[in-house]
Amino acid sequence: MIGGPRLTAPQVAELKHSFGLDRPFWEQYFVYLGNYLTGQWGNSFYTGRPIMDEISGRIWNTIILVSLSSIVAGTIGLYLALVSGRSYGKIRSGFAISASLVIYSFPVFWLGLVLVMIFAVVLGWFPVGGTTSPLPPTDPLPAIADYIAHLALPLMTLILSGIGASVIITRGAIFQELKQDYVLTAKAKGLSETQVLFRHVLRNSLLPLITFTALNFGYILAGAILVEIVFSWNGLGTYIFNAVLNLDYPALQASFFLISLGVIIANLLADFAYARLDPRVRR
């Protein structure tokens, strides 16, 4: 414990007491755990404000970005994979898989930079970055429009990179499913190719996509963090980054806790979805 020359022993003791540092370590640890679970995450070293307040003001921006992009990318990716599954071995299918591979190989932050270059700098359709304009409009409708204009580019970046991943994963699953006997049965019943794909194969090939998304949720979040930094999007990602630069450990701890929580929740949701989609799991 550091004490300056002007700090007397009782003052040091009082300070220690006020932080709970005079108690045994295990007790401190449980107090810490209790505080964490009740949302008392301490104050930021950098701004001095409660971390809970700082994060709750930003977390929604990240949740909107991640959930919207995952849903849209998953849906489009699934559709593309199904369509290319129908034309397996043809040029169109080969094109779909190569295009997804190429997009998948792009680092997501670079994709963001390129999109900024094209759509914000050259074409000027969207703002370069930020969550809102420096002086956001006060009326609700223009304010929402302002937010959406700022959301467009980061969202587009995450969707593009997400489509690449989900096409690759689902296509593999679709090929596995197409070899199954029930597909032959369905065809023998006289169902059209489209009906077989969308009624029977779709449901079964959803499962690996869901598992992949859940297991990969940490990676998706990592992508979101990078994209937020590229676009100065006011979410958890920029918060973590600034916390690292300012060595703001309590803020980092809280962000890390939230991210782990997010991954666990995503896996839990995936398990529930599994049970709903696949009756065999319910037993």
Partner: protein, 295 residues
């Protein structure tokens, strides 16, 4: 057992694999001895030329009359007057080194643990797989951001950390493959004949897992490349020369792209995805060669 010559002959028929291998070899050559390809070491301040900062790419003898020759300016220069082409060449070192070290190590460890857990089962399996589960739930990038920013030895730390996070993927996949292979009749037959466990794993189980290992290895290398690039993009790389990610970090920091300096943004990104793609192509080719041999 497959002979090397046979493997090479089969591999040379894979067009994608050959293309990938060529790109990969170029990058490796860059990484091994950059001065052979680029004249202007980005770590050497004497190679900066502020007067020619932010010059666009040009192939015609760009700086005729100045003392600079060679490829200087062929891909343009950055805000400090550094040659972008030289930066690309020198920037190959960190990604190539880290990704190959970390993926080789994590594949070896993952393979060993997967074989062990899958073949012997029981309590060690339980322990190893629960550990893998815990490792898999930890989001890698935020952890790396924090650890790399507080530690000093960037190269070593990053390699070790990627390995620590990545062995679990390989181990899980290998284990599931081992579990199904273990139940096949030829394994039982070998056991009845009194073949030792070690030999069964080496001769009968390992060959059935190799193709899967290559599949995960390609994804592992791709993730490692992108993870490394992400960290240096966040400005967390502390090597004198920087890498492709560092170039993008400066491009963002100095907002080069918004002034129209596209040559600072496109080349590093294209190189990154070329590296990833070439690994995909090579991995795919190896996988299909192994599958051909298997059937």
């Amino acid at each position: 057992m497959l002979s090397l010559r046979f493997f090479v002959r089969r591999f040379s028929k894979q067009k994608g694999g050959l293309l990938g291998l060529t790109i990969l070899l170029i990058f490796v050559a860059f990484a091994v001895y950059p001065p052979a390809f680029a004249k202007y070491d980005p770590a050497d301040p004497k190679s900066y030329f502020v007067g020619q900062a932010l010059a666009p790419p040009s192939w015609s003898s760009f700086f005729q009359g100045s003392s600079r020759t060679g490829f200087y300016g062929s891909l343009g220069t950055d805000q400090l007057g550094r040659d972008v082409f030289s930066q690309i060449v020198y920037g190959t070192q960190t990604p190539v080194l880290i990704t190959f070290l970390s993926s080789a190590a994590s594949i070896l460890i993952g393979l060993l643990i997967g074989l062990l857990a899958g073949y012997f089962g029981g309590r060690s399996d339980e322990l190893l797989m629960r550990t893998a589960d815990i490792v898999l739930t930890i989001p890698l990038l935020p952890l790396l951001i924090i650890l790399v920013s507080v530690n000093s030895n960037y190269l070593l730390d990053l390699t070790v950390l990627i390995v620590l996070a990545w062995w679990a993927w390989t181990a899980r996949l290998v284990r599931s493959q081992v579990l199904s292979t273990k139940e096949r009749a030829f394994v039982d037959a070998a056991r009845v004949l009194g073949v030792r466990n070690f030999t069964i794993v080496r001769r009968h189980i390992l060959p059935n897992v190799v193709s899967l290992v290559f599949a995960t290895a390609t994804i592992g290398v791709a993730y490692a490349v992108i993870t490394q690039a992400s960290l240096s993009f966040l400005g967390l790389e502390n090597s004198a020369r920087g890498s492709w990610g560092t170039m993008l970090f400066y491009a963002l920091k100095f907002a080069s792209f918004s002034t129209g300096a596209w040559w600072l943004v496109l080349p590093p990104g294209i190189c990154l995805s070329l590296l990833v793609l070439s690994v995909f192509l090579v991995g795919n080719a190896i996988e299909s060669v192994i599958d051909q041999i298997g059937t």
